[in-house]
Amino acid sequence: MINKLYDSFDKAVADVFDGAVILIGGFGPADGCPSYLIRALYRKGAKNLTLVSNGPGRGRPAPGAPAPPGPRRSPPNYDDGGLLIQNGQVTKCICAFPGQGRPGMMSPFHKLLTEGKMAVELVPQGTLAERIRAAKAGIPAFYTLTGAGTVITKGKETRVFEGREYVLEHAMKADFALVRAHKGDRWGNLVYQGTSRNFNGAMAGAAKVTIAEVDEMVELGEIHPEAVATPSIYVNRLCSRKDSREGP
């Protein structure tokens, strides 16, 4: 019988190695961030990681620490990649939205950048999504309009198709993808909730190992075959918030 469920978030990330490239789903302050997996990775302590995500997130120094100041509420039990960054586990951050570094209001993320302890590769959000999708679909490289004639693609190959200049972009290869979904089944089929699908849906299947954090597991067949958002083939492991050994 196929059963991809792990009873522990810690076990699910146990083989994440130092230097791994990790895709992390989520977008902005919404729910849909694999917070439990991120905390397991914090406990695991793997270092020298490359984080690929929309942005470094709000972050906090440790699980349970007060949420950073800001106008927005956070979802319950929330943590994002910023937790790993502030814990010194990340040496490179590939993202679309690092946030502006404001003089006098320097975030821990920008502090690490300024001190040279972390590098950042800034990628337009659509190029990031497409590079992730390319890795999933076996496409080593593709051409895109985005960025042609701007500093963001400096040093990259360009090519003219039908009179317009395009930029050559490469697949974003990764070792692990941590994604958050709503429900999953033992084969690995996933459904999401609303705009929490975002990068989670794009990243599932784009790394060598995809680990899904779900709110709850359902019986095989309960997810309607027309409504599956991420087919089981893209998911290697699942952990359930409801049934895991670890609390939030």
């Binding site: 302050p29 659509g126 963001i152």
Partner: protein, 221 residues
Amino acid sequence: MAERLDEQTMALRVAREFQNGMVVNLGVGTPTLCTNYIPEDREVIFQSENGCLGYGRTAQTEAEQDFNLINASGQFVIGNKGMCFFDHAESFSMIRGGHIDLCVLGGLQVSEKGDLANWLIPGREPGSIGGAMDLAFGAAKLIIVMTHTTRDNEPKILKQCTYALTAPRCVDLVVTDIAVIEVTDRGLVLKETAPGWTVGEVQKLTEPKLIIAPDLKAMAL
């Protein structure tokens, strides 16, 4: 000089460009306010980079707030009949594939050729590019809504952008707190001035020479 328009009024003016059936993407800041000013008898479908098409107005009360329903600016929005969800790859297929009829973004600088700079203030590296670059390249039509000048009253509409470009030659229309300006092959065409503003006053706060539209009018608000 007359008073400048406030954010809400600029959003109202921008929203007059929304035609029935258009798919519209709204950037962070003033653009998001446009959802409140959709012209009556028109139906507009809003697309958000984070994987939603057809969402409604922003949530007004805490009870309306749903952590699974936010727009690309991180604001809570409410659901709408006809709405659907998808992942980021699909979302940017829409954007980069030319399926967005109209995009409204904020701007730091716009050049007379229609170049846009809106993601990096020098000294604030690495900058926040987000989805703006894909939108600037991909949307069929691009409106920039911004104050006409910086806080120091320096022009933001320039002969050439001095900040890093978001995209070259991408802007179609600029709506500011004092004017509406169209980008054409001949140059920038002043189409409307805010109530009480003269052509001369607008020109003085604009670096490139403006072409005055034959049908120049006061902004109808």
